[in-house]
Subunit: 351 residues, 2 copies
């Protein structure tokens, strides 16, 4: 299998080239358009795993060979979509940091402050809404401008738009979960399916596979792989968010608890807790001023209610399910190997 | 020529049918998705001129006959795009009313308040950002799912996305104009070209014409018509915004002045004003508590500086330019008649 680091570099180069052309076009419109596009490029090229573009490329390699440069160019679309969603999510969550640097609206707050705008924050938020809107508007262009047959491009773009729409539904659900004290495991699971499994795994695989001419039956196999793999990943991520080290997860170990994030871990714990445990856990969740003692107490309750074990067991089951599908799939070896390697990592992920 | 009122009804029915299908799909996802889609439908079907869908239909009729039902279905795309932009614009402008009813975020503020959410406004704004995002995501679907050849659909969607992107640039420019005390007529004109001429006239005509198989040379003629027609319309609209009656313009006669909206009228007046007039006009523009006396003073200065005459003359020139292009165009009669009738209305528009 090709070195995925080398492939990631090619993907970064393709993102850079696509946005460089867009900067040139924006320059012809006005200096403010050019500035917006340049900041979009800076944001898009921040360090990231590029997992969605990789799924596009290997989704293609499951069913066709060659044309690697062309499918890499197409894969840029999933990264643009991701950047637009992050920019808008950060506005909604009032976040200050993204990928270790200021969020998009915070970047513009600085720009407007330097231009002596007296109340820069709302103007900066508006520019960030517009930056996301513009990214969404051009996000399917890498598919449309590629050299694949028009019929396949039409089909791929329709899947792409559907995912964009469903991720919006997922985000709306996620916002409402925050308000819902009686959130159930199924609710959390639906958010995982929409915002992680479909969005980050199934849809990118489909884009690549559709352009490689995959049949509907073959696409179905990709779904059978993508949904459990995505769910396993998200459950594990949420476990790490509470039980991981700051070093490993790249954010403070108390941030998920402070945010009161509804995860399978917390929802299951609240369901299984005795009245005393439930009261204590609710004191901690969403509380901005928790101590390390509170974190340890929350971990203890999550363990004692069997929720940690439940999450770990379910994640492993789902990861194994994805692995079995990948192993049994009648796909080209290069694509299949990638799917297996990802599922393998999920099965053996330390959490 | 077909009665455009009957056509408008068919367009409304097509919008309704498209969104009805989307509600059914959203229902399968979750009750909150269904609710969001239902509110999107309510917003989209509010009273409007449907001028963009009409341009799609007649852009098509300039070059092809028949297939009216199909091009009407396609025309829904421009209305979805418009609704998404209005929803996001209303968030940015903190507006409360749209088409005589609460703006989208105000609708959701009421919904969340009724659900006893303690601080509904930010949640409502987030739902409105998401509603706009979802509308943008599905806005090209009416083109993609139509029965026109894939090659033409690809071309039409690319124009559509480009317009979506350029309108974003126009909105960013418009926001910055508000902050710029030295805004020039060219700056205002660029906003008119991006946000009115290209967005409301050129792009819809192109979508229809492309699907009818128009050549690039024919598309160029549509641009030659659309840009002056769109500019004329916007200049006249801004004149009406200050000199019209509340009854005619559907908003208070002082609202553009209170907003401090940068128009050709005000920018030209500030350029030509003597120091005293300039001081007085700047006192009035953007001032939330102006009286009818202030409105009359502003009108007087705009007249005395020759700015009213300048705007009217330029609008008439541009409208005549569009009319001449339409008259000389070698298009099918039905399409041509529509373009002429619109330009005629602009030439003879009372302002």
């Amino acid at each position: 299998m090709q070195d995925s680091k080398a492939l990631k570099q090619k993907i970064d180069l393709a993102i850079s080239k696509f946005l460089e052309r867009r900067i040139e076009q924006a320059k012809e419109v006005s200096p403010s358009s050019e500035l917006l596009m340049k900041n979009i490029k800076e944001f898009s090229l921040r360090k990231g795993k590029r997992i969605r573009p990789l799924f596009v490329v290997f989704g293609f390699k499951c069913f066709a060979e060659g044309q690697e440069d062309e499918i890499i160019k197409v894969s840029v679309s999933t990264e643009l979509l991701h950047d637009y969603l992050l920019i808008h999510d950060d506005i909604m969550d009032k976040s200050n940091l993204r990928r270790g640097l200021p969020t998009f609206h915070k970047v513009y707050e600085k720009i407007y402050a330097e231009q002596n705008v007296s109340n820069p924050a709302p103007y900066a938020e508006n520019s960030a809404i517009l930056a996301g809107d513009i990214l969404s508007a051009i996000s399917s262009e890498p598919i449309l401008e590629s050299s694949f047959p028009d019929e396949l491009k039409t089909k791929a773009v329709r899947k792409f738009n559907e995912t964009n729409c469903q991720t919006g539904f997922g985000q709306e659900l996620d916002i409402l979960l925050e308000l819902n004290e009686n959130a159930k495991a199924e609710d959390v699971d639906l958010v995982h399916i929409l915002k992680t499994a479909k969005y980050s795994v199934e849809s990118p695989l489909y884009i690549g596979a559709i352009l490689a001419g995959a049949t509907d039956k073959q696409l179905k196999v990709l779904s059978d792989y993508a949904i459990p793999a995505g769910r396993a990943f998200q459950i594990q991520d949420d476990v790490l968010g509470v039980f991981g080290s700051e070093e490993k997860i790249g954010k403070p170990v108390d941030s998920d608890l402070k945010e009161g994030k509804k995860t399978l871990l917390t929802v299951h714990a609240l369901e299984k807790a005795n009245p005393e445990q439930k009261k204590r856990l609710l004191e901690i969740l969403g509380n901005q001023s928790i101590s390390m003692k509170d974190v340890l107490d929350a971990r203890k309750i999550i363990e004692e209610t069997g929720s940690l074990k439940h999450s770990r067991t379910l994640a492993k089951e789902l990861a194994n399910q994805a692995l079995e599908i990948a192993k049994a799939a009648d796909f080209r070896q290069e694509g299949k190997d990638f799917l297996i390697s990802i599922a393998d990592k999920l099965v053996n992920r330390e959490d």
